[in-house]
Symmetry: C2
Subunit: 427 residues, 2 copies
Amino acid sequence: MSHRVVIVGAGFGGLFAARALRRAPVEVTVVDRTNHHLFQPLLYQMATGVLAEGDIAPPIREVLRRQDNARVVLGDVVDIDLAARELTLDCQGTSSTVPYDSLIVAAGAAQSYFGHDEFAEHAPGLKTLDDALALRARIFGAFEMAELESDPERRAAWLTFVVVGAGPTGVELAGQIAELSRRGLRRNFRTFEPADARVILVEGAEHVLAPFPAPLRERARRDLERVGVEVRLHTTVTGVDADGLDVTAGRIEARTKIWAAGVQASPLGATLATRSGAPTDSAGRVAVRPDCTLPGHPEVFVVGDLMSLDHLPGVAEVAMQSGTHAARTVVRRLRGDVRERRFRYHDLGTMATIARFRAVASIGRLRMTGVAAWLLWLFVHLLFLTGHKNRIAAVANWAVAFLGRARPQRAINGVEASDLFATVRRR
Amino acid sequence: MSHRVVIVGAGFGGLFAARALRRAPVEVTVVDRTNHHLFQPLLYQMATGVLAEGDIAPPIREVLRRQDNARVVLGDVVDIDLAARELTLDCQGTSSTVPYDSLIVAAGAAQSYFGHDEFAEHAPGLKTLDDALALRARIFGAFEMAELESDPERRAAWLTFVVVGAGPTGVELAGQIAELSRRGLRRNFRTFEPADARVILVEGAEHVLAPFPAPLRERARRDLERVGVEVRLHTTVTGVDADGLDVTAGRIEARTKIWAAGVQASPLGATLATRSGAPTDSAGRVAVRPDCTLPGHPEVFVVGDLMSLDHLPGVAEVAMQSGTHAARTVVRRLRGDVRERRFRYHDLGTMATIARFRAVASIGRLRMTGVAAWLLWLFVHLLFLTGHKNRIAAVANWAVAFLGRARPQRAINGVEASDLFATVRRR
């Protein structure tokens, strides 16, 4: 019987691990709670009506269809037995066990509210397809409600959007909402001008895009202000309710709040830590050995956002490279090479897009801004979507949104007027 | 103050009425429970993963953005006061009233279970965007469950799809599920061959596509069987449960059942009938005068699927033409012409598509089948989507599905494995 590799999670880490095993003499099982991979860096475009679900969420089975040594299993991992080397899965109430010889855990991270989970009800995050659909309903629904509201103060609260956290997701989301109100919804309303909507980006630190080089952070802040985003730095959120939020500088009346401020590792991190005695960091990520393995369990790899190693950031590139590293380590061992090989991250650079034709990019010593950075962003994202059948539909949606002004995907799900804002699912 | 025309419903009837009033000296208010028009004839393609929501659901405001005399209001009509000439609306728990001088009610129809509403839980219908997303989750989810199931009988039940009702929606849906299993999912599974899935089309009458001319009905039945659909005529459903359904000829074990057998007019039909004394037919449609007005209330028009007149069928073309007729009558009256003008329906023909390259069409005396009818179907639907910004994304999705084999939109919403089949919303 061939060596069984089980991969938990079909995000960037899990999929890259699976692909790296395609010619290996192993049986690969990919377990995920959903039927799709999710191109998370473009989730904010789904939430703001540019892209459709299928554009950023290819079915895992479709991605792996030609990889005969891989199978895909839908299920929630409810336990990991490190001694017996098996997982317990649940799918639709039916429990099953999946044994492994090597395990690659790439279960990712969810939103973190830094101990204020009660904020989640009024300030949902943006991590899953459902989050994006719910947020889309809230954003477009807020404009609908503003059209119905005759009281100027209450209308202004419907037309105020607050994004908490100025990392790439927060910056991109704030920029897109500003563009949406200034271009996308033009002439759509009769009782107000959508361009009067306020978009406020709240950040506790002193910069937007903290990990970027200083000139790019400054340029990003200026670009955000140019497209109409109010940037409030050194500002911490102390309370969130249905009507607005309290920040250190006072009160903001805003019906729509979005949380993009932090991440919390999957609960599987805690499971692994409890079972193995490995420490976790403050975000619940598992401290791994330099080769991405769980201390004391060289057959178990933890990669991507769930991994704590060398203070690496929780970005797609780290997940891809650490997933690949884990897979290659499995292959090397099967060939008899059991030396511990350190995972070395090659930083290919980072970029963030602020709005149409405005982005910042940092690649090695190269710094790019404006249209050039935006075109690079577009090119890189098109390359990434290459493996993906629905690329042409994504490009079509982009053409409509970037060259025209309309947002192709504005339909509100869970759509009846009576439950417009009831579409956020809690897990 | 100009004449106030209120239109209830932004389906084909309501939107065509609004557009026909674009140069009239009136104030138009379009009320709908959702933020989008819905291109219902393509809903089955959304349920089977070909199209995205935005492709068939343009925002009502976007459609009417350049029509300065029209405004759009999101809300549920909870009452109609014919004496005071005003509607009561509810949106998110806030009640408001909308006065009218002329009222055009185009509220459409929902699924009918012919007195067996308990069938709905296990055999959902296909009338709204949410229905289509829920059905997509059930269809793709059934294949996921089959992959997990080791018992052959239970697996066979997951791979059996029953469509009840062989009108155009039922025929198109059955054909698409068959194509999906035979082409779209090829090489996606490891424990079974998706092409082994059974698709059963159950119909109480003696023909599929009853309103079509006999040779086309026969051709459609043969085409369905060629793409792998089992057609069971003279078969009535007597019971539906989670595991299957009981029909007059016995029992079918099938986890996925879809109801496409009948329609029931919007409850606003009953409201209008109670308030005015007008009779309704067995489907709850309001019997109107020959000019589509409510008896005794010439200022109130009932059009589309909610209207009972001359045994006209509940198809998009009737809704468009009756909506336009109502709008033109309002305009004529404002010019002083108050003669009652009979609504005359011009039948432009009907078509139904069975699968890729297979359709039937009947236009006047012309009968078309096969590739020619399919190309005509494609051409007509592209024409219809012309007013619609997202046409190019729809075409891109079609290209992927028809020229390639993949289904671009397969992501399951409400997606966690633990609530895969909990996504059907009840209203």
